[in-house]
């Protein structure tokens, strides 16, 4: 990612990482800023051979054990190869982005996305792709800025309704107890049963919960009514694993947003993105391409591409 001036100021001011970072950040990655000037780590992939992108997809990861790596190592390269400008970022507190002590209500995550797209000068309507909590951010962003969203694809996610809040609050309470109060035992169990990498992710999640107010902030998020969800006008694709706790969600979404395309993948659970990336990639690509064909959408990423080439 080309560093834009506003971001460079922030970058210099915070002195993150090592001396090497400064050099490598000049081209394709580096921090940008979200709400409250929090530094956000961004990665972009463009179509090969300098082809102008046909559309822009912004990929938003989930809560706690997630980062942009979940996209980078699954669907992102293929989306870029298929002609899309792909923007990935680590949400606050996650991955290589800054981890402020507080400020983790849903609204703040949505403002991060808003600021990020502003800073990257991505003004045309984008396709938002969200996994789990990232999908909730996508829905909330589309309600805040309908004119800036071409479509939403969510995986294992729902809008920030009252029931979403109840469920995520329960999960955070459980995580806070398991990972923080009983951290050593929990990590030993995860390591033994789920492998070293999941244990490593759990360790990062424990640190996030221990050192920030995320477990209190997310449950304090504002919720939306069914009426507000009905106001979403852009195309929506919603994918669920048949064995996930969210199974059944697709019927509610279909009733509230009749145009929604829902897909339930048999034999899959909540981590369907990691488990069935090929299937998810096919679904995303056909959905985005169909939308382009239907609307004759211009190459919305072209302006951003040119800005970067400067």
């Amino acid at each position: 990612m080309a560093m834009i001036d506003t971001a460079r100021e922030t970058h210099d001011g915070t002195g993150s990482g090592t001396g090497d970072d400064t050099d490598q950040a000049t081209d394709h990655d580096g921090p940008d800023t979200g709400a409250d000037g929090v530094r956000l780590h961004v990665q972009r992939l463009s179509p090969p051979d300098g082809r102008p992108p046909t559309a822009t997809a912004v990929l938003i990861h989930g809560l706690l054990t997630d980062s942009l790596a979940s996209w980078y190592f699954t669907v992102a390269p293929d989306l870029a190869a298929a002609g899309l400008e792909v923007v990935m970022y680590d949400q606050r507190g996650h991955g290589r982005s800054e981890r402020p002590g507080s400020g983790y209500r849903l609204d703040t995550f949505v403002t991060d996305l808003e600021r990020l797209l502003d800073r990257l000068d991505i003004t045309g309507p984008v396709h938002l792709v969200g996994n789990c909590f990232g999908g909730t951010v996508a829905f909330a962003y589309a309600m805040r800025h309908p004119e800036r969203v071409a479509g939403i694809a969510v995986i294992e996610a729902k809008p920030a309704t009252e029931s979403w809040l109840t469920e995520i609050s329960g999960i955070l309470r459980r995580v806070a107890t398991e990972l923080v109060v009983h951290e050593a035992e929990s990590l030993a169990w995860v390591s033994a049963h789920r492998g070293a990498h999941t244990a490593r992710l759990a360790k990062s999640a424990a640190r996030l919960v221990r050192t920030t107010t995320i477990a209190e902030d997310v449950p304090a998020s504002g919720v939306v009514s069914e009426e507000q969800v009905r106001a979403v006008r852009c195309p929506v694709l919603a994918v669920y694993g048949a064995d996930s706790e969210l199974a059944g969600q697709e019927r509610w979404l279909e009733s509230v947003l009749p145009g929604t395309r829902t897909v339930v993948l048999p034999g899959q659970g909540h981590s369907v993105l990691a488990e069935a990336p090929t299937r998810i990639r096919e679904l995303l690509l056909s959905w985005i391409h169909e939308d382009e064909t239907a609307t004759g959408a211009p190459a919305v990423g072209a302006a951003a591409l040119e800005a970067d080439a400067l």
Binding site: H28, L45, P77, A81, A309
Partner: protein, 112 residues
């Protein structure tokens, strides 16, 4: 990954691309990362596994991809490399596999 900045110079011309040199480069990049985690005395060889031995997580590999591109230029395309791998294979990746990939890329670019 394909970047859009067409005018960036390719640093590959002067980067030595034999396996020991690339291993030394990658080890250096990894040490910088591990220092941040307070792990600085781990020996890094061709057999070292990123996750199991170095306790790196997937986001660290994304960072490493950036360092590799900065050092060797765009022909070292980590995103393309991992696109052909399953998530499990990426987690089990060894330093040696990455070294061999970088050597292949740089040589292929030199022959063009």
């Amino acid at each position: 990954m394909t970047s859009v900045n067409q005018t960036a110079p390719s640093p590959a011309a002067e980067a030595p691309a034999d396996a020991p040199a690339v291993l030394a480069e990658i080890s250096g990049m990894l040490r910088t990362m591990l220092d941040e985690y307070g792990l600085d005395d781990i020996e890094i060889t061709m057999e070292t596994r990123f996750t199991e031995d170095l306790e790196l997580e997937s986001i660290d590999l994304v960072t490493l991809a950036g360092s590799l591109e900065a050092r060797y230029g765009r022909q070292v395309n980590f995103a393309e490399f991992v696109a052909d791998l399953e998530l499990e294979e990426i987690i089990d990746l060894t330093v040696g596999q990455l070294v061999e990939y970088v050597v292949r890329c740089v040589r292929a670019a030199g022959e063009r």
